[in-house]
């Protein structure tokens, strides 16, 4: 598809990191540097794997990109907006509207049904519920093959089913970027394949950029791009 590739190449980047550094204070004068100047960009529809050994800084990178953590220095732009100087409330707003998360341990809200979990980001953003939220959540769950389990309590679903619901929830606000932190790490190989395929199809269908942290070399090999993080630097 040469036309599509040209179109995507010309589109503005969803994510731009330039010289991102992150260090943590441990004790009074002891500072540990975790990320040493990370630079990369993601474009709409990019499906990018992040690999690296444990403790290399993958999760810190993901938390920084997801606006859960602030970088110590550098520039981080999401959909063209510089985020490093934003207030906490502005970062929360941007996170809610432009970023979707899929975690390793599913992290659904157990007090709510599958449908309610998917509606949650929209519900939180608007404060009150409306019929369109329910319709969109049902459609998203349908698209991830969860139509029969709309009203099932989240904690009664299997691991693979929960991760499908988590993917649907990540898509609820039509984010430009999905951050997936080892989403298949806790699943059997069949479910892992299913979730991977689902994220990949979401990425292509919705032109959403996906940053996919994984330890699985077979899965990373199937991604469009692979970023390797070694000791806080890109390999």
């Amino acid at each position: 598809m040469p036309e599509l590739s040209i179109a995507l190449a010309k589109a503005a980047p969803v994510l731009e990191l330039a010289g991102i550094r992150k260090s943590f204070n441990v004790g009074a004068d002891n500072e540990i540097e975790v990320l040493y100047g990370i630079d990369f960009c993601l474009y709409p529809g990019d499906f990018c794997a992040v690999v690296g050994p444990s403790g290399s800084g993958k999760s810190t990178l993901l938390n920084t990109v997801g606006l859960l953590d602030r970088p110590s220095s550098g520039s981080l732009r999401i959909t063209g907006l510089e985020t490093t100087q934003l207030s906490d409330a502005q970062r929360t707003h941007l996170r809610g509207h432009s970023i979707g998360f899929v975690f390793q341990y599913h992290h659904l809200l157990s007090a709510f049904s599958a449908l309610e979990n998917v509606m949650m980001p929209m519900y939180a953003a608007q404060g009150l519920m409306d019929a369109s939220m329910r319709a969109r959540a049902a459609q998203l769950l349908d698209s991830v093959g969860m139509r029969p389990w709309l009203d099932a309590p989240a904690n009664r679903l299997s691991g693979g089913q929960q991760q499908r619901v988590a993917v649907a929830r990540a898509l609820a606000m039509q984010p430009a970027l999905i951050l997936a932190d080892e989403p298949t790490g806790n699943l059997d190989s069949k479910s892992a394949d299913g979730v991977f395929a689902l994220l990949r199809s979401v990425c292509k269908e919705h032109a959403t950029a996906v940053l996919f942290v994984t330890h699985n070399p077979q899965l990373s090999a199937r991604c469009d791009r692979t970023i390797e993080v070694i000791d806080g630097r890109l390999g």
């Binding site: 859960l68 409330a89 809200l109 157990s110 007090a111 309610e116 519900y123 939180a124 009150l128 329910r134």
Partner: protein, 410 residues
């Protein structure tokens, strides 16, 4: 979520969190309910007890008594620079009429706080029947007015409460001491030497032994003749709309008229001290019960914040604001308080009904009527909800300040 679609986000999340932690929620609601029930029951008990005391005190007494000021001895002929005598004898107090009492009655009746004004003649006398004699306190009054202050007809045990110019009423104790029944003649003599023979019309029981053995009621005209106070009144008995305003109204009357005005509050000072002590004790108990309820709610919510750290992290990751997280936990506190207060109000009301039903006097009559004041229930609901909200403040702040990265890893 269909049935709760109208709920704001924070309310629904708070409700679901509480519903999910069933046992924890149930225990704290029961704890709050017991606290609220204790507050409601104790307050109603004390209010009932006090109302009962007040009722008993005021059964045989006016709210305010207005009378001429006591006579004072004044040194005569002592000019400027002269020495006053160090010792002066206090004059004997005699039955004295109130000057212009008819116009004073009109003035007092015009006061908005005043309900009834009843003029009377008070004096001491000796009642004799054959060999027996007793010193008594004579009340000469106008029955139409006086009976509106002291409901003598309701307290009548024998004879009639109707008083003519030649009849009188006495209490049960005095009747027993003298061995008389209605219809018997009684001889009344004053220290001034006036003697009247009157017919006993009826016997009353005002529920107070002293009053029953001492008070003699007769028509005002009869008492005027007895004490040589033609057309006069020595005292004005007043009842008010608000019995607790008695002291301030009495002071007002005293300053405006220069007469002596004694309120029932002043004449029953010991009783009032006891009432105040009870009220203070009740307030202290309420405070400590509310405090323990508050700490109970806070401890449950602190545990809940720890248990739900990961969920708080997820909510924050999906764009939920700190203020929204805070409201979720504040609402949980408020809902726990409200639910506990509702259950507590029911338990309190049930306890009151059971008390009224089973706590009886030896003769089967109710010990005293408890005051089931709806304001008390509303206050308890508001207090418990507020306590819930305040107790949730620290846990809610803690939840709102959670670092989402740390919370998600929890």
């Amino acid at each position: 979520m269909k049935q709760s679609a109208w709920l704001p986000f924070e309310v629904l999340v708070a409700w679901r969190f509480l519903r999910e932690g069933r046992i924890q929620t149930l225990f704290i609601v029961v704890g709050i309910a017991i606290g609220v029930a204790v507050i409601i029951f104790m307050s109603a008990l004390l209010n009932g007890l006090q109302a009962n005391f007040v009722n008993r005190v005021l059964t045989g007494q006016a709210h305010i008594q207005v009378l001429e000021s006591k006579e004072r001895a004044r040194a005569q002929g002592v000019g400027p620079g002269a020495l006053e005598m160090a010792n002066m004898q206090i004059p004997l107090q005699r039955v004295k009429g109130i000057d212009q009492w008819q116009s004073l009655v009109l003035q007092l009746q015009a006061m908005p706080e005043v309900k009834v004004v009843s003029p009377a003649v008070l004096g001491a006398a000796l009642v004799t029947r054959s060999e027996a004699s007793r010193s008594v306190s004579v009340v000469g009054m106008l029955p139409d007015l006086y009976y509106r202050i002291i409901a003598v007809p309701d307290k009548r045990v024998q004879g009639t409460s109707y008083i003519g110019s030649d009849s009188l009423l006495i209490g049960t104790e005095l009747a027993a001491d003298l061995g008389v029944v209605p219809g018997d003649p009684l001889r009344i003599a004053t220290v001034g030497g006036t003697v009247l023979t009157l017919k006993l019309a009826g016997i009353f029981d005002l529920g107070n032994k002293g009053t029953n053995s001492r008070n003699v009621l007769m028509a005002m005209r009869t008492a005027q003749s007895l004490f040589g106070l033609a057309g006069g009144a020595s005292i004005l008995d007043l009842t008010l709309h608000d019995i607790y305003a008695a002291e301030s109204v009495a002071q007002q009357i005293q300053s405006h008229t220069g007469l002596q005005a004694d309120s029932w509050i002043k004449t029953n000072e010991q009783f009032f001290t006891a009432v105040r002590a009870q009220t203070t004790a009740n307030t202290a108990i309420r405070f400590f019960v509310a405090l323990s309820v508050g700490f109970g709610i806070a401890s449950v919510l602190v545990v809940s914040v720890v248990q739900r750290s990961r969920e708080i992290g997820i909510l924050r990751a999906m764009g939920v604001r700190r203020a929204q997280v805070m409201r979720v936990f504040l609402l949980q506190g408020g809902l726990l308080g409200l639910a506990g207060a509702l259950v507590g109000a029911l338990i309190g009301a049930l306890a009151m009904v059971l008390w009224q039903r089973f706590m009886r006097n030896a003769d089967g009559s109710i010990m005293f009527a408890m005051v089931m004041d709806s304001a008390l229930f509303v206050q308890a609901l508001a207090l418990a909800s507020l306590t819930g909200l305040l107790s949730a403040l620290a846990p809610a702040l803690r939840a709102a300040r959670l670092d989402p990265v740390v919370a998600i890893r929890a």
